[in-house]
Amino acid sequence: MTNPVLSVRNLEVEFHTRRSVLHAINGISFDIAKGEVLGVVGESGAGKSVTGLAVIGLIDPPGRIAGGEIYLSGMRIDHLPPEEIRRIRGKRIGMIFQDPLTSLNPLYRIGDQIIETIRTHTNLTETAARKRAIDLLAEVGIPAPEKRIDAYPHEFSGGMRQRVVIALAICAEPELIIADEPTTALDVSVQAQIISLIKRLGRDHGTAVMLVTHDMGVIAETSDRVAVMYSGRIAEIGPVQDVVQNPLHPYAKGLMGAIPTLAGEDKRLVQIPGSMPRLSAIPQGCPFNPRCGFVFDRCRVERPEPIVRGTQAVACHLYDTAPKEAVKETAA
C-alpha cells in the first residue's frame, strides 16, 4: 500500500507560558490519502488550527511540538531543520488562511507575490513564472487574469482575494493543502464558490486537503472524512456520511444535533450545555465529562483512547466493551 499523503501520529503540541505548560494538542493521530478531503471540526480553541500549523511547521515559540511524528508521503517532517521545512512549505504543503483581507501583503501587486512564490520553489524565469501566474489566476477563476495580475490586493473583493490566496497556495502544485477556515470570513454566496473551487482543485490535481472549519455544513458538502476535535484530542473520526448520520461520541452527537435541517420536524435545536474547558483547566479523564449527558465514574478518572467501531473511531468509554455494566448504569 502506498503511503498516505499526510500521516500524523500521536502529535502533541505545548505552549510554554510563564505560569505553566499548556497542552494544546494531546496525542492526535490521523491520515489523509491522496485526493482525499479531511474535514476537521470543533469549537474555537479545540486545536484545529494549531494542528494545521504544526503540520506545516509554523508553530511559533512559546509553542512547540512536544511529541509524536508527522509524515508527508512517508517522509518524516516534524523534526526537520528550519531551512528544510521552509523548502517544503509552499512547495509540497500549501496553506490557506481564514481572512483573505489580511492574508495578502498590501504593498505588493498580487502578480509579484505569486511570481515571487513560484520562483522561490522552481527554476522558472521571470517571464515563465509570470505566464504561470496568469494561468493560475485563470484556474482559480479570476476574470481577465492578464490584466488583474498587476492589481494590488485592495483592488479585489473578499471572495476574489481568497481566490488569489488559493492561487498562491497551489502555485507549486503541493501534495497537501491545509485550508484553515477558508470561508469563515466570506459571504455565504461566495463561500459556496470557494468550497467548490477547493474541491475541484483537490480532484483535478489529486491533492490531499485538510479542511479546518467549525461549519458542519461546509464539511458535509466537501469532505470525504471528518475528524471531530475537542480540547486538543480527536473525539471521533470517520467517513463524513457515517459521522453526520450516526455520530457516536456524545460531543459529536451534540454537534450534529445543533445543525438545523429543512426536512426535520419543528423542534428546538439541541444545545451542548457549558463551554469547552480552557487549556489551563482541562479536567481529568475525558475532557468532555463535565458537559456530557452520559458521564459515569470512569470518565472522570481515565482518559479514553480511540476505539474502532465499523468505519469510525471514537474516543469514548461508552464504546469500550469491557466494563459493560457501566453503560447500563448510566442508561438506567
Partner: protein, 326 residues
Amino acid sequence: MLAFTLRRAIQAIGVMIAVGIISFSMFRFAGDPVNQIVSLDTSFAERAEIRKSLGLDDAVPIQFLRYFANAAQFKFGVSYQFRQPVSNLLMERMPATLELAICATIFAMVFGILMGVYSALRRDSALAKIFQAVSLIGISLPTFLIGILLIYLFSVTLGWLPSFGRGEVVRLGWWTTGLLTLSGLKALILPSITLGLFQLTLIMRLVRAEMLEVLRTDYIRFARARGLTTRAVHFGHALKNTLVPVITVAGLQFGSVIAFAIITETVFQWPGMGLLFVQAVQNVDIPIMAAYLLMVSLIFVTINLVVDLLYTIVDPRLRSTISRAA
C-alpha cells in the same frame, strides 16, 4: 493625483502666509531696531536718517506688503549688525546647516533602521537589549550635553576629531562644501552624531515597534507558509510595511533636525544658519530672525509636501484613495 498635489501646495502657501505675518510682526514688537544699530552719541537726525533708510517710518500695512513682496523674492532686508543683505548671509551659511542636517539624518536613518530591524528580529539577544538601553539614554540626554561629552571624549581626551568649526571647505559655485576635504569630513562627524542621536533612537524604537507589529500580521504568516526565505519575508515583505510610518517620522524629523541645529551649531561653533540665528537673537537683529523663521517654515512645509507624495509611492492603497477623492 495632480489635484491632490495642488491642494497640498495651496495649503502650504497658506501656512507660509501665516508664518509671514508672524515674522513681520516681530519687527513691531521686539523694540526699536534703530537703537540696536546706533551708538549712544548718534544724533537724532542721524537716527531719523537710518529709520528712513530702513523704511521703518512707513505705515504698517505698507511695511507689511513691502516685506512680503520682498520675502517672496528672497529679499529679507539688511542685517542690523552685519550691514549686509540677510539673504546673502543666509545663503552663505545654508550649505553648512544643510550638510550637517543631511549627514545627521542619514546617520540617524541608516543606523536607526538597522538597529531597529535587528532588535525586532533578535528581540531576546543581548545586543538588542543594549540597543534598547542606549536608546533610552539617547532620548533622555539633552543635545548640548551629548555634544559636550563627545567633544570631551574625542577632541580633548583622545584628540582624534576637531572640537569646533567646519574644517577646510571647497567652494562649488555659491555652495561651500566640507565633504571634499579630510578636515571637513572629520569636522562633520561629531556634530552629525550629536544632532542625529535623538532621531536615531526615535527611528530605532519606531522601527522596532512597527516591525514587531508587522511580523505578527496574517500576510507575514502567509508569506512564511508559502515557504519564502526568511530574508524575503523579513526584508521584502516586513520591512517595506514597516517603512510607511517611518517615512513620516523621518521626514518631519528632518525639519526638527534643521531647527535643533541651533543648539548643535552653538556647541560646535558650526558656521551655519543656527549659529547666525543665535547671534541675531543676542543682538536683536530682527531681519535675520524673521528670515530664519521663514526659511525654516519653508523647509518644514516643503518636507511635509514631499512626505505626503512619498506615501503614495510606497503605499498603493493611498494612491487609489487619493484619485477617488480627487
